[in-house]
């Protein structure tokens, strides 16, 4: 590095490239950059990283069907427009619900008029009562459809 020039300051350089320095500091870094090959390389690297990110994301954006996304968002919002009680009331009193509901009620009344043993609530395929181990981590999951239990562990040895 030539005598008389400011020393490299990577933090300042980053702020300079982001246009976040005051006028005096900006001028000093700009002057330094004219002569410092190391900082020039760092500046190119910073631009290169930004370009790569923008290219990669840009591709993903271009491959995305935003019309479809828009329709999904609007449909989601429409579902939440009426107050819940209004929706419930109109649903209950609609003919296509009322008649089958009445039929079902009659069937269930007949069904439960006979004494039966209490039904077992099924829940997940496995209930974990206890777990101990020489492991670094463990996760317990369920599959969404049939609620099958999964235990995932990382061995330490």
């Amino acid at each position: 590095m030539k005598k008389g020039h400011t020393e490299c300051d990577p933090i300042l350089l980053g702020r300079f490239l982001d246009q976040e320095l005051g006028p005096d500091q900006h001028a000093r870094v700009e002057k330094h950059l004219r002569y410092c090959l190391s900082c020039q390389k760092a500046a190119r690297n910073q631009h290169a990283l930004a370009d790569l990110l923008n290219t990669k994301v840009g591709k993903a954006v271009s491959l995305t069907d935003f019309d479809h996304l828009e329709r999904q968002v609007l449909a989601l919002v429409r579902d939440r427009q009426a107050p819940w009680w209004q929706e419930a009331v109109s649903l209950i009193f609609s003919r296509k619900i009322l008649i089958p509901a009445a039929t079902m009620a009659a069937v269930l009344t007949l069904f439960f008029s006979y004494p039966r043993p209490p039904a077992q609530i099924s829940g997940p395929s496995a209930i974990i009562n206890s777990f101990t181990g020489d492991i670094s981590s463990v996760m317990i999951l369920e599959t969404p459809r049939s609620r099958q239990t999964i235990i995932w562990f990382d061995e330490t040895f």
């Binding site: 077992q120 099924s122 496995a126 209930i127 974990i128 009562n129 969404p144 061995e155």
Partner: protein, 150 residues
Amino acid sequence: MNLRKHILFILSLSLILLLFSGPVRAKQKISIVVRTVLASQEGQFTDPELSGLIRELQSVFKYSSYRLLSQDRMNLGMEKMGTASLPGGRLLKITPTGIRGNRAELRLEIFKKNRQIFQTVIQLLNKGSITVGGPQHKGGYLLFNISNSF
């Protein structure tokens, strides 16, 4: 007289049934199947014997290959231990400890080179299964699917 005998018989039967309404301990046996699966990203292969299981696992994992390495069947009474050899010097020990309603209580232990990795006590639904994973093995992960019926 007959009526009294009938009432006594019904009461005795009820008492006996009440006594055994908790965990069934006597001679009930549990049929257990342990399947060892190698899941990996190498290639595309779904073992036809695992189709039902893979469908469920694919909702959580995104492996492209599921290969059945081994299958062990055992018929175990209460407090009787069964074992299944697993790849990589591992061993699975299963001990049923009771049945509550529609679930079997099982103690599962996995050992690696004679050292216990973990122990868990579960209540497994009749005809249900649990999947335990995943030690790394030959570029993929081992999954142990344990199912039972009684």
